[in-house]
């Protein structure tokens, strides 16, 4: 397997949607390719870091204000 072929399967591997055979082939490639190993681990970490950190927080005050405005309009039937 070449690095380009590995890369084509990267998302499926990360999302755990590869067949057992494909997974074995990918793991075989990883054993001999440090570049792909780094690409896989840091891409996983990229996703995890964006999932676990709130970068656009909705502050409580703003949330209450928006909520009030929405519900007032809804009660009037919009």
């Amino acid at each position: 397997m070449t690095c380009t072929e590995f890369l084509a399967q990267l998302d499926e591997l990360i999302d755990d949607s590869v067949t057992a055979q494909m997974r074995a082939d990918l793991q075989e490639h990883l054993r001999g390719c440090e570049h792909c190993e780094v690409t896989l681990s840091t891409t996983r970490k990229t996703i995890e870091i964006y999932r676990s950190h709130e970068i656009y927080d909705l502050p409580a005050g703003l949330r209450d204000r928006l909520h009030k405005a929405i519900m007032e309009r809804c009660k009037k039937g919009c």
Binding site: T4, L7, L10, D11, I14, H35, V38, T39, S41, T42, T43, K45, T46, I47, E48, I49, Y50, R51, S52, H53, E54, I55, Y56, L58, L62, R63, L66, H67, A69, I70, M71, R73, C74, K75, C78
Partner: protein, 207 residues
């Protein structure tokens, strides 16, 4: 890492009961739905408009529109996915207004080969977030994702941050499944490469 549990076919999603109650005139049930999803709608709107005021307007407009159109909600998709579609459309409309009528679409600015092949292959430090304060880290993550082309950013946010499936992301954005897959891969690789500037292992440092 949190995973989203799939709902079995014969099991009804709890949102459906809430939607039914709203349809029957129970406004308090809508209150519950708004509280459940307002943060997600705000995040998506911020990612697309990149403007706080616009994002606030989108939250308000999207929930009002969803309330108005609730009769059109078929129940064959999830309420959340249906709401996200409204929020994405409202966000794109806001962008168009701000850019004085210039057409804006999620197909914009994606003619780039960057990120198709990883170039910077430096490994990251273990737990690289720990080298930054929460505020610094949030700024790095914001700046990095803002630099992605719009069409990649939206796919990454819906798919990886908000947890929609590939099919739901495709449906929400009006894209084909292969188009979503191709954008997702490039978005992930571009973000990875850009974050490497901040998170790379220092030379000579061992784990």
């Amino acid at each position: 890492m949190a995973t989203i549990q799939p709902i079995a076919e014969n099991e009804q999603h709890p949102d459906i009961a809430l939607v039914e109650r709203v349809r029957a005139g129970d406004v308090a049930a809508y209150d519950t739905l708004v509280r459940k999803y307002d943060r997600q709608v705000f995040r998506i709107a911020q990612h697309i408009t990149q403007n706080r005021e616009d994002a606030e307007d989108v939250v308000q407009d999207a929930f009002l529109k969803a309330y108005e159109k609730l009769d059109q909600f078929q129940g064959n998709s999830k309420f959340y996915t249906w709401l996200v579609r409204i929020a994405v459309n409202e966000s794109l409309m806001r962008l168009r207004k701000r850019r004085t009528g210039r057409m804006v679409s999620i197909d914009e600015d994606i003619e780039t080969e960057e990120g198709s092949v990883p170039r910077d292959l430096a490994d990251w430090a273990p737990d690289p977030e720990q080298n930054y304060t929460q505020a610094e880290l949030a700024e790095i993550l914001r700046k990095t994702i803002q630099g992605l082309p719009q069409g990649f950013r939206v796919v990454f946010v819906l798919r990886d941050v908000e947890g929609l499936s590939t099919e739901e992301t495709a449906e929400t954005l009006g894209l084909s499944v292969p188009a979503v897959k191709s954008r997702l891969l490039r978005a992930r690789l571009q973000l990875r490469e850009r974050l490497t500037r901040y998170f790379r292992k220092k030379k000579g440092a061992e784990q």
